[in-house]
C-alpha cells in the first residue's frame, strides 16, 4: 500500500483554521481527539488534586486539614471527575484520533456531532465544580450517590449535580453513536470485522455498552430529580419506593460502566504488547470473543456490589457465580498477552513498560476482584479499603496506565516528534513505585478493618495510611513530569518516522508523522 497522505496533494481540502476558532468550530477528528485528551488531562490533574487533599487528611489520624463534610465532597468529586472527566474522555479522545486512522476512514462519521459531544463536557464539569462553591457545598454522597443520602438528605446543589451528569451522559452517548457509525460504515474496503485492530473492536463493544447503560443512568438521575423536586417516591420507602431499588438501577449502569473504562484499555495493550514483542498478537479471535463475553457478563453481575443489602440467598449465589465467571475471559486476555511476549524479541520503550505495568498490576486488581466475588468473604471486604485498593488497581495502573501507554505509543504519530525516552522511563518508574506505594498498603488496612470514605481513622491504620499518602504524592507529582514530556514532545524533538516502532502494524503507521490534518481521503485497500 502506498502513502497517500501529503495534504497538499489532496484536492479540495485545506489545513486547520487559525486561532481559537479552530478549536471551537472544529469538526476534524484529530483536533477533537486532541481536545478530548487535553481536557481529560486537565480533569486528571483536578481530580488528582482532590485525591491529594484526601491523602493529606489521611496522612495522620485526627482531623488536620479539612472537616468531614468537605472531605466527603472531595471523595465524591474525585470519583466523579476521574470516572466521567478523566478516564472516559481520554478513551473517547484516543478513539477520535485513532479509530479513523485505524480503519482507514477520512474522519468520524458525524463530525459536527463530534464537536458538540466534546464541547458539552467543559460546561458539564464547570457546573459540577461550581457546586463546591454553593451554599451547603457540593455533592457529598459518594460517586455512587446512594439514595436517600443523595435525595432526601442531599445538599441543595444536588440538582446541578444531576444536570451535569445528564450532560456528561448525553456527551458519552453521542460519542458512542459516532464511534459505532464510524466503525460499522466507514471501514476501508477489505477490512472485515475480524480484520479490525483490537482497539477498534474493544471500542465498538464499549460503545454498545455505553448506549445500553448511559440511558439507564440518565433514567436513575431523572428519578432522583423527580423524587427531590416533584414529589415522587421512587427511592423513598415512605411513599412506597425503595432505596435498594436505587442501588439495583445504579449498578445496572455501574457495572458495565466499569468495563467501559477497561475494555478500550485492553485494546491499547493488545497493540503495544505485539509491537514491542515484535510478534503478532496471540489469539486475536479469542481476544475478540473474550471482550464480547466480558461485556455480556457485565449485565448480569451488578448485584455483587450489593452483597450486604440483604439479597435473598439465591440472589447472592447467582451473582457470586456470575461474577466469578468473569475471571475466565479476563484470564484468557492476560494469558494471550503473555503468550504474545513469549518467544518474542522484546524491547522496553516507555509504552511497553507501561503495558507490562498494566498487565501485572491489572492482574493483581483482577485477583482482588475474584476475592471480592466470593460473597461470604465480601461481607468482610465490602466498603473497606480493600475495595478501594481493588478498584484503584484496575483503574489507575489499569485504565490510566493504558491511556499513558497509548499516549507514548502514538505521540510520535500525533506530534511528528519522538518524546524524550529517558524522561519517559523516569515517568514510568516513578509512577510504578508511586502507584504501588499508594494502593498496595490499602489492601492491608482494608483487611484490618478500615472502612472507606472516612476522614479519620483508628490508630492501628496509621502506618499504612502514611505510606499510602507518601505514595499518593509521589504518583501525583510524577504526572507533572508526564505533562512536561508531552509539551516537550509537541514543541520539538527528534523527528519521528512514519512508523517509529519497528514491530508496529496497522494503517495508522502508513500515514505521515505527524499525521496530516486530513488522512485517507481515498480509502486504502486492505487485502
Amino acid at each position: 500500500m502506498n502513502d497517500m497522505t501529503q495534504p497538499e496533494l489532496m484536492h479540495g481540502h485545506h489545513g486547520p483554521a487559525r486561532g481559537i476558532t479552530r478549536w471551537i468550530y472544529t469538526t476534524n477528528h484529530k483536533d477533537i481527539g486532541t481536545l478530548y485528551l487535553w481536557f481529560s488531562f486537565a480533569m486528571f490533574l483536578i481530580g488528582g488534586c482532590m485525591a491529594l487533599v484526601i491523602r493529606s487528611e489521611l496522612f495522620q489520624p485526627g482531623l488536620q486539614l479539612v472537616q468531614p463534610e468537605f472531605f466527603n465532597q472531595m471523595t465524591t468529586m474525585h470519583g466523579l471527575i476521574m470516572v466521567f472527566g478523566a478516564v472516559m474522555p481520554a478513551f473517547v479522545g484516543l478513539a477520535n484520533w485513532m479509530i479513523p486512522l485505524m480503519v482507514g476512514a477520512p474522519d468520524m462519521a458525524l463530525p459536527r456531532m463530534n464537536n458538540l459531544s466534546f464541547w458539552i463536557l467543559p460546561f458539564a464539569f464547570a457546573m459540577l465544580l461550581s457546586t463546591l462553591l454553593m451554599e451547603g457545598g457540593g455533592p457529598n454522597f459518594g460517586w455512587t450517590f446512594y439514595a436517600p443520602l443523595s435525595t432526601t438528605y442531599a445538599p441543595p446543589s444536588v440538582t446541578f449535580f444531576i444536570f451535569s451528569v445528564h450532560m456528561m451522559g448525553i456527551s458519552s452517548i453521542m460519542g458512542a453513536i459516532n464511534v459505532i457509525a464510524t466503525i460499522l460504515n466507514m471501514r476501508a474496503p477489505g477490512m472485515t470485522m475480524m480484520k479490525m485492530p483490537l482497539f477498534v473492536w474493544t471500542w465498538l463493544i464499549t460503545a454498545f455498552l455505553l448506549i445500553a447503560v448511559m440511558p439507564v443512568l440518565a433514567g436513575v438521575i431523572t428519578m432522583m430529580l423527580m423524587d427531590i423536586h416533584f414529589g415522587t417516591s421512587f427511592f423513598d420507602a415512605g411513599g412506597g419506593g425503595d432505596p435498594v431499588l436505587f442501588q439495583h438501577l445504579f449498578w445496572f449502569f455501574g457495572h458495565p460502566e466499569v468495563y467501559i473504562m477497561i475494555l478500550p484499555a485492553f485494546g491499547i495493550i493488545s497493540h503495544i504488547v505485539p509491537t514491542f514483542s515484535r510478534k503478532r498478537l496471540f489469539g486475536y479471535a479469542s481476544m475478540v470473543y473474550a471482550t464480547a463475553s466480558i461485556a455480556l457478563l457485565s449485565f448480569v453481575v451488578w448485584a455483587h456490589h450489593m452483597f450486604t443489602v440483604g439479597l435473598p440467598l439465591a440472589g447472592e449465589l447467582f451473582f457470586m457465580y456470575s461474577t466469578m465467571l468473569i475471571a475466565v475471559p479476563t484470564g484468557v486476555k492476560v494469558f494471550n498477552w503473555i503468550s504474545t511476549m513469549f518467544r518474542g524479541a522484546i524491547s522496553f520503550e516507555t509504552p511497553m513498560l507501561f503495558a507490562i505495568g498494566f498487565i501485572v498490576l491489572f492482574t493483581i486488581g483482577g485477583f482482588s476482584g475474584l476475592m471480592l466475588a466470593i460473597s461470604p468473604a465480601d461481607f468482610q471486604y465490602h466498603d473497606t479499603y480493600f475495595v478501594v485498593a481493588h478498584f484503584h488497581y484496575v483503574l489507575v495502573p489499569g485504565a490510566v496506565f493504558s491511556i499513558i501507554a497509548g499516549a507514548y505509543y502514538w505521540l510520535p504519530k500525533w506530534t511528528g516528534h519522538m518524546y524524550d525516552e529517558r524522561l519517559g522511563q523516569w515517568h514510568f518508574w516513578l509512577s510504578m513505585v508511586g502507584v504501588n506505594l499508594t494502593f498496595f498498603p490499602m489492601h492491608f488496612i482494608g483487611l484490618a478493618g478500615m472502612p472507606r470514605r472516612i476522614p479519620d481513622y483508628a490508630l492501628q491504620f496509621a502506618d499504612f495510611n502514611m505510606i499510602a499518602s507518601i505514595g499518593g504524592f509521589l504518583f501525583g507529582f510524577s504526572q507533572l513530569l508526564f505533562l512536561y514530556i508531552v509539551i516537550k514532545c509537541v514543541k520539538g524533538g527528534q523527528k519521528a518516522e512514519d512508523k517509529p516502532w519497528e514491530g508496529a502494524e496497522g494503517l495508522e503507521w502508513q500515514v505521515a508523522s505527524p499525521a496530516p490534518y486530513h488522512t485517507f481521503a481515498q480509502p486504502p485497500r486492505i487485502d
Binding site: P106, D107, A109, L110, I173, A176, I177, I180, A181, L184, N185, I211, A212, V213, M214, P215, V216, L217, A218, G219, V220, M223, G231, S233, F234, D236, A237, G238, G239, G240, D242, V244, L245, H248, L249, F252, V309, G310, L311, P312, L313, A314, G315
Partner: protein, 219 residues
Amino acid sequence: MKDQNPHKTTVSKLVLATLGMFLFGFLLVPLYDVFCDITGLNGKVSNTAYVEKEGFTIDPNRKVTVQFLTNTNANMNWLFEAEARSIQVHPGELTRVSFSVVNPSLKRMTAQAVPSVSPSEGAEYLLKTQCFCFEQQELNPGASQQMTLLFRVDPQLPDHISTLTLAYTLFDISSTRPVSSIAERPGTYSGFPAATDSLFTSQSLLISHAQTLRLAGGY
C-alpha cells in the same frame, strides 16, 4: 462523506436504542416490584390486601412466632406501639393485632406505615387480609388511635422458618400530601367499624376463621 445514508440508518437505530434503554430504566421500576413480590427481596410485602381463598387448614401441631417491630423514621415523632411484641400462631389461623399511635405534636400530620418482613424468604407467607399500612393515617394534634392488622401465616411456610418478624416503620408524609378534610372522622383509618373492636380483647388475639368470615360480612 459521499454517502450519508448508511450513517442515517445506523444513527437512527442507535438513537432508538438509546431511547429504548432510557425507557427500560423506568420499566425496571415495576419489574423490580414484581421481582420483589416473587422473591420477597428486601422483605417487601404486597401492599394490597390478600384476597381470602377458601380452604385454609389450620395446622394445630405447628407454632410460628410472629414478632412485631414498630419504628418511626427520622422526622416522625408519633408514639407507635404494638399491643404485643410477639405472639405465637398456628399456620392458617386468622389473627388480629392492634397497634396504637399518638400524635404528640402541635400540628395535624399524615403518616404512612411501611411494612417489612424478615427473613425475606418468609415475606410471601405472611398474608395480610387487612392492614393499616394499606392506607395513610391522619391524626390531629394530641389525638390517638388504634390500628388493626389481620393476617394469617400461610401453612406452606417452609419448615425451617420458625419466627417471622414484621416491622412497621412510620413515615411522616404530611409535607408530600396535603392535609385533607376528613378531620371529622378521627380514628377511622379503615373500614373496620369501631364497635367490633370490643370483640377483640387483648386476651383473645386469636380468633377463628369462622369468626372473621362473619365479621368480614359486616363491612
